[in-house]
């Protein structure tokens, strides 16, 4: 997977390059819209990460120009602007997703993967999820841990499903709120922790090997 990162801030560009390289992506990074345009039109990138405030051209205009030149790779917009206006404008201009600074690398990776999945051939809908001895039936909304049937509320099932779908990958609190409760909010309280704690009590209590782990400072991960 090859990514194009367009970001004028050296610190952020370097850390993006490092973080994404470590996750197995090949990175082309540049600071100017003109360089980005030259690189993007080659059509070799699977996705692009574009910052909105560039010294030579507004990021939105860059996206519009790339789209006009037939560049179809999905674009993840980075911006310090938080308003809904900006988000809408960004998506209207041809961006595919929008992430405001500051962001967690885990969330950046998750969104990037989602974009890449969306652009590749449609995967068949799964009806069952399985991680180690945890098994979810998405149609009947039932969960089992080994032989034990888990009695979960709707919310708990949705939360567990989200963790399973991202098994092995870190999800942040903001991502959980966004995907499970459909709320794009920041919270300084431990509100998500409470739900995770309750879910863990049901999923991991009887088990020898706990599946749901807390990555302090980042979020949670469900893995074997």
């Amino acid at each position: 997977m090859r990514l194009l990162v367009v970001e004028d801030d050296d610190t952020i560009r370097d850390f993006l390059t490092r973080a994404l390289s470590e996750s197995g992506f090949r990175i082309d990074a540049c600071a100017l819209a003109s360089e980005a345009e030259a690189l993007a039109v080659e059509g070799v990138h699977d996705a692009m990460i574009i910052d909105l405030t560039l010294p030579d051209l507004d990021g939105l205009q860059l996206i519009q120009r790339l789209r006009a030149q037939g560049v179809t790779a999905p674009v993840l917009i980075l911006s310090a602007r938080r308003s809904v206006d900006e988000r809408v404008l960004g998506l209207e201009s041809g961006g595919d997703d929008y992430l405001t600074k500051p962001f967690a690398v885990a969330e950046l990776l998750a969104r990037l993967r989602a974009l890449l999945r969306r652009s590749s051939a449609h995967q068949p809908e799964t009806t069952r999820l399985r991680v180690a001895d945890l098994e979810l039936d998405l149609i009947r909304r039932e969960a089992r841990r080994g032989d034990l049937e888990l009695v979960l509320t709707q919310q708990e099932f949705a939360l567990l499903e989200y963790l399973c779908r991202n098994a092995g990958r870190v999800v942040t609190r903001a991502m959980v709120l966004d995907h499970v409760w459909k709320m794009r909010i920041d919270t300084s309280t431990n509100i998500v922790d409470v739900h995770i704690h309750r879910l863990r009590n049901k999923v991991d209590r009887e088990a020898v090997r706990p599946l749901i782990r807390t990555m302090r400072g980042v979020g949670y991960v469900l893995k074997d």
Partner: protein
């Protein structure tokens, strides 16, 4: 006095206003004096005119009643002489050589009978020039005399007339003296008026200068400067009071700003300090697990910091009226239920009970993101302050026009000192660990939706948020944005 006044004085408002008012005063008083003088002159003239008319009648009678013989002219002449001498004395009985009277009797077939000074020819010529009505005194200019005579005519028989003329020098003198005194009086009045106006205005404007000085002090950073308003209630005193009030408000705002910067310093610098310190320790830690732990805690602090900044910015926008609402028709009942579900376990975990009463469907036009944060702010407020084992009650209902969201608890309630300014920025109780922005945000969002947020203590804390079901975008510039999108992107 004027020599001591500097040149800049002539550019002052006091000088200009004094000059203007003096000119107006001078013109007005001059008009009054002129009218008075004309009235006096008329009265004086009337006195001499009535004498002329009466005397001319007497002479006419004498002339008519005297037989037309050789003595006729002599008798008339005598009477006329007497008449002329009658006014020839001033009030004190002295001979007044300045009063001059002439008498002429004309007739068709006789030479005119003349009693008077000098040559009669000039007088007769002047009388011929002007036709006189009987008993109507007129002023007559006579060649050789610098002043006009008042002349009256009396008809006897056809072609025969009696003229009596008078130059009342006493009256003329009186009038000219009067005129002189009037002018002097007028000048004195104007002069005194000028100085009174100048002094009064200077005193008044001196007080304005005091305000200017106070304002100048503020320019140099001294906000404690105030103007002495005095006990009067005139314009300048009101200006001074208004100015002082303005200063009070400004210094209150500045103090608020100071509090704000203190809070920012505390809310931002504390986490930054702790992040920096934590990372430093992590850098030098030998144990990898320990350093991981430290880094994680640094990230958590950064998240908190980021949250404060986001809330501050949102609040600044909301309070500044710069929030661009993206209203959409939303079922608040469904949204609220989702939020309540999210928070319910947290309440339970703290031993708090959480009762929710939500109307089945409450559709209203709100900004989803802002309204959600309003709800979460209210929930987090309850989590923090309702106290252990408190019962939290939330109701959401609506009538035809408004949504009413009521969050109440049976906890300790708001501290009385906080209740008045609960919805102000950085209002927080002494026990609070929040950043003091949450409630201000709730109020700002309610107001941005043309609604309101109110708080009171009712056996615990109670907050009521009311917003209209329909958002009317009147006077809301933010609503033009979506239209602009559609234009730009079809």
């Amino acid at each position: 006095m004027f020599s001591r006044i500097s040149g800049s004085f002539y550019r002052t408002a006091a000088w200009r206003l004094t000059l203007r008012s003096t000119i107006v005063f001078a013109a007005g008083s001059a008009a009054v004096f002129a009218v008075m003088f004309v009235l006096v002159a008329q009265a004086v003239r009337e006195r001499s005119d009535s004498w002329l008319i009466g005397e001319s009648e007497t002479l006419k009678q004498v002339t008519l009643s005297t037989p037309e013989d050789s003595l006729h002219d002599r008798i008339v002449e005598e009477v006329a002489e007497l008449a002329t001498q009658e006014v020839g004395y001033d009030a004190a009985g002295h001979k007044s050589s300045n009063n001059i009277v002439f008498f002429v009797q004309t007739s068709a077939h006789q030479p005119p009978l003349w009693v008077g000074p000098g040559d009669s020819a000039d007088f007769l010529e002047a009388l011929d020039r002007q036709h006189l009505q009987e008993r109507t005194p007129v002023s007559l200019k006579v060649a050789g005399w610098s002043f006009p005579f008042r002349v009256v005519a009396a008809d006897m028989s056809p072609g025969s007339r009696v003229y009596l003329g008078l130059h009342d020098s006493q009256a003329t003198t009186l009038l000219s003296r009067l005129l002189l005194r009037f002018i002097l009086g007028w000048l004195a009045m104007v002069g005194i008026g000028f100085f009174i106006a100048l002094l009064g205005l200077r005193r008044m404007l001196h007080r304005v200068d005091a305000i200017t000085t106070a304002a100048a002090n503020i320019g140099t950073g001294d906000l404690s400067s105030r103007v002495a308003a005095g006990t009067q209630n005139d314009e300048v005193a009101r200006l001074a009071r208004t100015f002082n009030n303005m200063l009070d408000r400004i210094s209150a705002s500045v103090n608020q700003l100071r509090t704000l910067t203190d809070s920012v310093a505390h809310d931002l610098k504390s986490p930054i300090t702790s992040v920096r310190g934590t990372l430093e320790v992590a850098l030098s830690a030998e144990d990898e697990n320990f350093s991981r732990e430290l880094v994680a805690s640094a990230i958590e602090n950064l998240d908190r910091l980021s949250n404060v900044i986001t809330t501050s910015l949102d609040l600044a926008e909301a309070e500044g009226g710069a929030l661009r609402l993206h209203v959409e028709m939303i079922d608040l009942a469904e949204l609220s239920s989702r939020v309540f579900e999210l928070y319910a376990p947290a309440f339970t975990e703290r031993g708090q009970s959480f009762e929710v009463s939500v109307a089945p469907v409450v559709r209203a036009e709100v900004d989803l993101r802002l309204y959600t944060r309003l709800l979460t702010n209210l929930m987090e407020n309850e989590l923090r302050y309702a106290g252990e084992a408190a019962c939290i009650r939330v109701t959401l209902d609506a009538d035809d026009t408004r949504v009413r969201l009521c969050v109440s608890d049976n906890g300790p309630g708001f501290p009385p000192t906080l209740l008045g300014n609960l919805f102000q920025r950085f209002a927080r109780g002494s026990e609070s660990q929040g950043h003091g922005l949450g409630m201000a945000f709730v109020s700002a969002v309610a107001q941005a939706h043309q609604g309101s947020a109110t708080a009171r203590n009712n056996n615990g804390a109670q907050i009521v948020v009311e917003i209209p079901l329909r958002y009317s975008p009147l006077n809301h510039a933010g609503e033009s944005a979506p239209a602009a999108f559609q234009e730009a992107f079809g």
